[in-house]
C-alpha cells in the first residue's frame, strides 16, 4: 500500500527525496479521510516552505485540511495538473498526484520521518481516528 521509497509524516504527507530535491504529496490515508477532493491550493514556484508549517490546503466538499511541509526549502515545481483534475489526488496520491517539489535546505530534516512500515503502524494506532465532519445549521 505505502511505497517503501517514500517517507511519511504524522500529518499524513509523504516525501520522496532525490538528491537535494524533495517531492511532496498527501498519503492515501489522508485522501480517504477527506473523501472526494475538489480543490488543492498550492504555493507558487519560488515560494519558501518551512518544515512543520502549512504550505497549502486540500479541500473536499465539506472539509478543508492544511498540508504541512516535511522539510524547509524553496518550491521548484508545482503539479499544475492538480488544478484541472483535483480527483488525481484520490486516484493516485503517491504517484501522479504529487503536489510540489522543494529544493531542500537541510537534508537532515528528513531523518525524523517515518518509513512506510512505521507509518502503517502509526495508522493502526489512535491517529487513524476519523476526521471531523462539516457542520450545517
Amino acid at each position: 500500500m505505502y511505497p517503501p521509497e517514500l517517507l511519511y509524516t504524522n500529518d499524513h504527507e509523504w516525501i520522496r527525496v532525490d538528491e537535494e530535491v524533495g517531492t511532496i504529496g498527501i498519503t492515501d490515508h489522508a485522501q480517504k479521510e477527506l473523501g472526494d477532493i475538489v480543490f488543492v491550493e498550492l504555493p507558487k514556484r519560488g515560494d519558501q516552505v518551512t518544515a512543520h508549517e502549512a504550505f497549502g490546503t486540500v479541500e473536499s466538499v465539506k472539509a478543508v485540511s492544511e498540508i504541512y511541509s516535511p522539510v524547509t526549502g524553496e518550491v521548484t515545481a508545482i503539479n499544475s495538473r492538480i488544478n484541472d483534475r483535483p480527483e488525481l489526488v484520490n486516484e493516485d496520491p503517491h504517484g501522479e498526484a504529487w503536489l510540489i517539489r522543494v529544493q531542500l535546505k537541510d537534508r537532515r530534516e528528513t531523518e525524523g520521518l517515518m518509513t512506510a512500515d512505521q507509518y502503517e503502524a502509526y495508522l493502526a494506532g489512535p491517529a487513524g481516528a476519523s476526521a471531523a465532519e462539516g457542520a450545517k445549521g
Partner: protein, 497 residues
C-alpha cells in the same frame, strides 16, 4: 406513450428551464408611463459612459415571469407546507399579518433619510421593538442595527473589546465551547481576537474546572450559547459568569436558542453582559430561503456607551430620535438602521402573543422537543442524555453499523414529507441529528414525524440501501456536489454561436 409528443412533457412544471432560456428578443414584462419631461438623448449626455447592451439579459413577458417563478416555488419545501424541524434554525410559523403591516405605506416606503419629525411612526416602531426585546432579555440597552446573527456576534465582541480597552487592556482571547456555531469563531477572528477552544464536559455543558483553568488575564471573555447547541441549559450559568467576571472578562451569550427562554427566564439575570437575538428565529420573521435576518445586540449598562451609531432614543416629550453623538461607540456595522422591516414583523409577533402568549410558545416549543425525544430514544443513540429544552440531539451511531449516516436518514425523511433536521451539527456529536420542532407543530404532525423517524430506523436495519439512495420522491435525486465544486458553473452563459 409520450414518444410522439415533442413540445409537451408529462411534467411541464418539473422541467422549467432557466429564465434566460425562456427569453425571446423584443419581449418585456413592464410598460412604462410616457416620459413627462423632454427626452434626453443618453449618448449625448453620457458620451463615452454610455452602455450599448446587456448581453444575455432576459426578455420575457409578465406571464412568463409569473409562471417561471411559480413553477420554481413548487420545488421548495416550506414551513407553510409542513413541519420543518431544522435544529438551531427555529423554523416557526411566519404570520402573514406581519407581511401585511410591514408593507403599510410609510413603514414599507419611507426613505431612511426622511427627516426624523416626518417619520416618527417608523422610529416609534424601532423604539417599541427595542423596549419589548429589552423586557424579554432583561438587558439594559440594545441596538437593532446588526443585519443578522453573525453581525450581532461581531458587534458584541467589538463592544467587549472597546470596554476592556478603556479599562486599559483589550486582552487577546475569547473562549468558545466546542459545541458552538461556526459563526462564533469566525466573528472572533474579525473582531481581532483569537479563539480559545473550551472543551465541553461529559454532560455536554461547560466544564467549570476547565473554564477556571483557561480563564486568565489574557482572556477577554466567554462566548456561550444557552441553552447550548445540544439543547441543554447550562445550569451553572451564574457560576460560569462569576468565574469569567472574577478574572476581569465579560460574558457574551449567543441568543440563537432564545426560543427556549422567552417569558420563562431573562438572560440579563444570568450575569450575561452582552447577547444577540435572531429575529428570524425567535421572533418569526421569515427565513425567506436564507435571509434577510436581523441580529439585535442587547447589553448591560456597562457596555451601553459603545453601542453602534446611531442609537434610537425616546425623548421626554414622547418623540423618538436618532442619536449620532456617541463618541465612545464602536462605530457603524451597517448602513442606515439595520433591517427595519424585520423589526416591524418581530414587533407584530410579540404584540400578537402578548406576555402570556410568548410564554406559552416557549412551553410548547420545549414540550414538543421533549415529546419527540422521548418517543424516538429507543431507536436512535442519545449521546448526551440530559434534560432537553427546545431541541434534542441524537447520533447516527446505531445506524452507522449498517452504513447509514445522519445525512441519509435526513434524505429519507424527505420521502416521508418532512424537511430534515440539521445534520452533522454540533460537531461534538459524531453524526448528529439535531431536531427542533418549535412550537409550530401540533401533536398529530409530531406523531407523523415520530412515525417517520421510527420507520426509517427500521429501514436502516432491513434495507439500508433504500435509505442511502433517498430521496426517491423529489424532482431531482441527490446532486453531484463533488462535480459542482471541482469545476464550478456559477452562472448561465449563452450557448456559443
Amino acid at each position: 406513450m409520450f414518444n410522439r409528443i415533442k413540445n409537451a412533457t408529462p411534467h411541464m412544471t418539473r422541467d422549467e428551464g432557466l429564465i434566460f432560456e425562456r427569453s425571446t428578443p423584443g419581449k418585456s414584462g413592464a410598460q412604462l408611463p410616457p416620459l413627462d419631461v423632454p427626452a434626453t438623448p443618453s449618448e449625448r449626455v453620457l458620451g463615452d459612459f454610455c452602455r450599448q447592451d446587456i448581453e444575455g439579459f432576459p426578455e420575457t413577458s409578465e406571464l412568463d415571469v409569473m409562471r417561471h417563478f411559480t413553477r420554481l416555488s413548487t420545488w421548495n419545501y416550506s414551513i407553510d407546507a409542513g413541519v420543518y424541524p431544522l435544529g438551531s434554525c427555529t423554523m416557526k410559523y411566519n404570520p402573514r399579518l406581519n407581511e401585511t403591516v410591514a408593507r403599510f405605506p410609510g413603514l414599507g416606503t419611507d426613505h431612511p433619510y426622511t427627516p426624523e419629525d416626518l417619520t416618527q411612526g417608523c422610529l416609534r416602531v424601532l423604539a417599541d421593538t427595542q423596549r419589548a426585546l429589552l423586557e424579554i432579555t432583561g438587558m439594559d440597552a440594545i441596538s437593532l442595527q446588526p443585519a443578522a446573527g453573525a453581525q450581532g456576534e461581531l458587534t458584541g465582541l467589538l463592544l467587549i473589546r472597546a470596554c476592556l480597552r478603556e479599562r486599559g487592556d483589550a486582552r487577546r482571547y475569547i473562549l468558545i465551547p466546542d459545541s458552538a456555531h461556526g459563526t462564533n469563531p469566525a466573528s472572533v477572528t474579525i473582531s481581532g481576537y483569537e479563539t480559545l477552544n473550551l472543551k465541553s464536559g461529559p454532560r455536554g455543558c461547560v466544564d467549570l474546572a476547565e473554564l477556571d483553568r483557561l480563564m486568565n488575564a489574557e482572556v477577554a471573555g466567554l462566548m456561550l450559547t444557552n441553552p447550548n447547541t445540544l439543547g441543554i441549559f447550562e445550569e451553572d450559568i451564574q457560576r460560569i459568569c462569576g468565574i469569567v467576571h472574577a478574572k476581569g472578562g465579560l460574558v457574551y451569550m449567543d441568543g440563537a436558542n432564545m426560543n427556549a427562554l422567552v417569558g420563562v427566564a431573562q438572560p440579563g439575570k444570568f450575569g450575561v453582559d452582552v447577547m444577540h437575538l435572531n429575529l428570524h428565529k425567535t421572533f418569526s420573521t421569515p427565513h425567506g430561503g436564507g435571509g434577510p435576518g436581523s441580529g439585535p445586540v442587547a447589553v448591560k449598562r456597562l457596555l451601553e456607551p459603545y453601542l453602534p451609531t446611531p442609537t434610537v432614543e425616546e425623548g421626554d416629550d414622547g418623540s423618538v430620535r436618532l442619536n449620532y453623538d456617541r463618541p465612545r461607540s464602536v462605530g457603524r456595522v451597517r448602513a442606515f438602521y439595520g433591517n427595519f422591516g424585520m423589526a416591524v414583523r418581530a414587533l407584530a409577533y410579540i404584540l400578537a402573543y402578548g406576555p402570556k402568549g410568548v410564554r406559552q410558545a416557549t412551553e410548547d416549543a420545549v414540550l414538543n422537543a421533549n415529546y419527540v425525544k422521548e418517543r424516538i430514544r429507543d431507536c436512535y443513540d442519545l449521546p448526551y442524555d440530559a434534560p432537553s429544552f427546545h431541541e434534542c440531539v441524537f447520533s447516527d451511531k446505531r445506524q452507522e453499523a449498517r452504513g447509514v449516516r445522519t445525512g441519509d436518514i435526513a434524505k429519507r425523511l424527505i420521502d416521508y414529507g418532512f424537511h430534515p433536521y440539521t445534520t452533522s451539527f454540533p460537531l461534538i456529536v459524531h453524526g448528529a441529528l439535531m431536531i427542533e420542532p418549535t412550537e409550530s407543530a401540533g401533536k398529530p404532525e409530531l406523531d407523523a414525524l415520530i412515525d417517520a423517524l421510527r420507520s426509517i430506523a427500521q429501514e436502516a436495519e432491513e434495507d439500508p440501501d433504500l435509505v442511502k439512495r433517498a430521496p426517491h420522491t423529489t424532482r431531482v435525486s441527490r446532486l453531484d456536489e463533488v462535480g459542482a465544486a471541482r469545476r464550478p458553473v456559477l452562472r448561465w452563459k449563452p450557448a456559443p454561436r
